[in-house]
Amino acid sequence: MSTQQSYEAAAAGSPQETAEFDQGHQSFIQKFQHLLHVTPSLVPLIVLVLSVIVFGLLLGSKFFSPFALTLILQQVGIVGIVACAQSLVILTAGIDLSVGAIMVLSSVVMGQFTFRYGLPPEIAVVCGLICGTFCGFINGWLVARMKLPPFIVTLGMWQIVLATNFLYSANETIRSQTIAAEAPLLQLFGEKIKLGGAVFTYGVIFMVLLVILLAYVLRHTAWGRHVYAVGDDPDAAELSGVKVNRVLISVYMLSGLICAFAGWAMIGRIGSVSPTSGQLANIESITAVVIGGISLFGGRGSILGTFFGALIVGVFTLGLRLLGADAQWTYLLIGLLIIAAVAVDQWIRKVSV
């Protein structure tokens, strides 16, 4: 303390006349660029609002009804949850290609442990959650300790976990009626709350709460700040005293856990436990993250952006279907959005570097 105080005394007489002359003449574009840099979820939010307005104008109450709008939420529920996991990993400048496989394996564990081994569904669910977390731990350990590239690690784990899933389940589906009769807990996230025309499943509510919780934790805890710092520059983070390996492993474990929750939510959504479900979760989650403005280079973006990104995909999908357009139009437009989002990210990265 004494150090700082006496230095303060020494520096107290320093001249200050040149303060702040570089603030004034920023152009509007630069200000906008800076705003986007500070609030990365702004672009996806604008796109989301615009697309809702456009489809609302084109389709009227067919689209702009509580029922249709909450249907979108239900349709993006699973992807939204998985995309939260994907966001965490991508914030550390990684990528998780095994999210879909971990989700399916976890759901299969929940189903098989209940019906093959006769465990109480509560225990089976916990085992499924542990299974997902453990898969995430393996990813994290290989990335952090063995210094292997996340793309390769999770590409390998994708195959390994998916194969395990098929071998273990013997490709067998557990039927919806059986689950409903004997272990309704597994379908918990399919429960619905109706408010007028609006329908909210527990899965949707879980997704929204998860987004809020993660946004809060990333913003307001030291761990959250470290996630950003590690994604930004792992060497600088390490030199600053951040336990980089521990942060990485925790991120992949949390990602695995969230995927396991997604697996549970998926049982609620489709009713059955099917080892062939959720095959597109990888690509769809990465799409949501990218459209949501999280930088694939790590260290920048927000989980809210991902949520908006998932909703944008949902709005386009339902809107175009209600318009009677060929489903390929959806893919085409989503493809354009992905490229536009990355272009915007590159542009933001240029902010006075």
Binding site: Q23, T221, Y228, D232, V351
Partner: protein, 260 residues
């Protein structure tokens, strides 16, 4: 000039001793059996060409690299420094040549990175961190205003002030400054020189890496010169001229006059 000199003469325990330190990268001996020491209230300059091994040597002390052989003592006790957190536990703070800032975080988040101030609920206390950051930055660089921007939006000199703030904020006993003024203007450089004098008067020991021989002559008590990973020699600044130092750097030999 100094108390440090008397301390050294009286046989007091050095603040830091790095003894016979070696490290290689692949085949390159970046640091080759180098010994340096530092007493309380002393500034020791580290000089040498680009690639001489200065940064590598001090990164061993700051925990960024693990030495292959050698020994580090702090206050006479042998210590193990295996990561930057260990170094900090011994009150060793470092301003890295690369600054080691997380570009997308703002100044306050960088200042407290890894040591965040938290509320009683364990949440980061942004307002407290920003207030502290404003205080220290005001001392180091009164013109600094960009508290809410990511540090990628700062100028080189502004970034350097943030890195300096981070090293001096946490009450270091041993301070490592790797070219702290490389990106600073003359006014800020002068501020850093004053800062070094202040810290020295507090009994803090400083390793200062600087290519400017005049600055070293002005600020340091002793200078250790390195070449090709090896120590050319350590001299008392009072015993040498700047030409002597230059010839040590360039020729890699101790000048005859500095036999003391």
């Amino acid at each position: 000039m100094s108390n440090a000199k008397e301390l050294r003469a009286s046989g007091a325990t050095p603040l830091v001793e790095m003894k016979d330190i070696s490290i290689s990268f692949g085949g390159i001996k970046a640091v080759d059996h180098v010994s340096v020491d530092l007493y309380p209230g002393e500034v020791v300059g580290l000089l040498g060409h680009n690639g001489a091994g200065k940064s590598t040597l001090i990164k061993i002390l700051s925990g960024a690299y693990q030495m292959d052989t050698g020994e580090i003592r702090v206050n006479g006790n042998k210590v193990e420094i295996t990561n930057p957190r260990d170094a900090r536990a011994h009150n060793i703070e470092t301003i890295y040549q690369t600054l080691a800032l997380a570009d997308n975080l703002d100044a306050a988040s960088n200042l407290f990175l890894g040591r965040e101030l938290t509320t009683p609920f364990g949440l980061v206390d942004d307002s407290a961190m920003e207030a502290e950051c404003r205080k220290i930055m005001h001392r180091l660089n009164p013109n600094f205003q960009k508290f809410s921007e990511p540090v990628s939006a700062l100028s080189g000199g502004q970034r350097q002030s943030v890195a300096i703030a981070r090293a001096v904020y946490f009450n270091a006993k041993i301070l490592i400054m790797d070219e702290p003024t490389a990106a600073l203007g003359p006014h800020e450089t002068q501020m850093v020189a004053e800062l070094i004098q202040q810290l020295k008067a507090q009994g803090i020991g400083i390793f200062l890496i600087d290519h400017d021989v005049n600055a070293v002559m002005e600020l340091c008590d002793r200078a250790s010169v390195m070449k090709n990973g090896q120590l050319v020699g350590t001299v008392d600044i009072d015993d040498v001229t700047d030409d002597d130092l230059l010839s040590m750097i360039i020729l890699g030999k101790r000048p005859g006059v500095a036999a003391a």
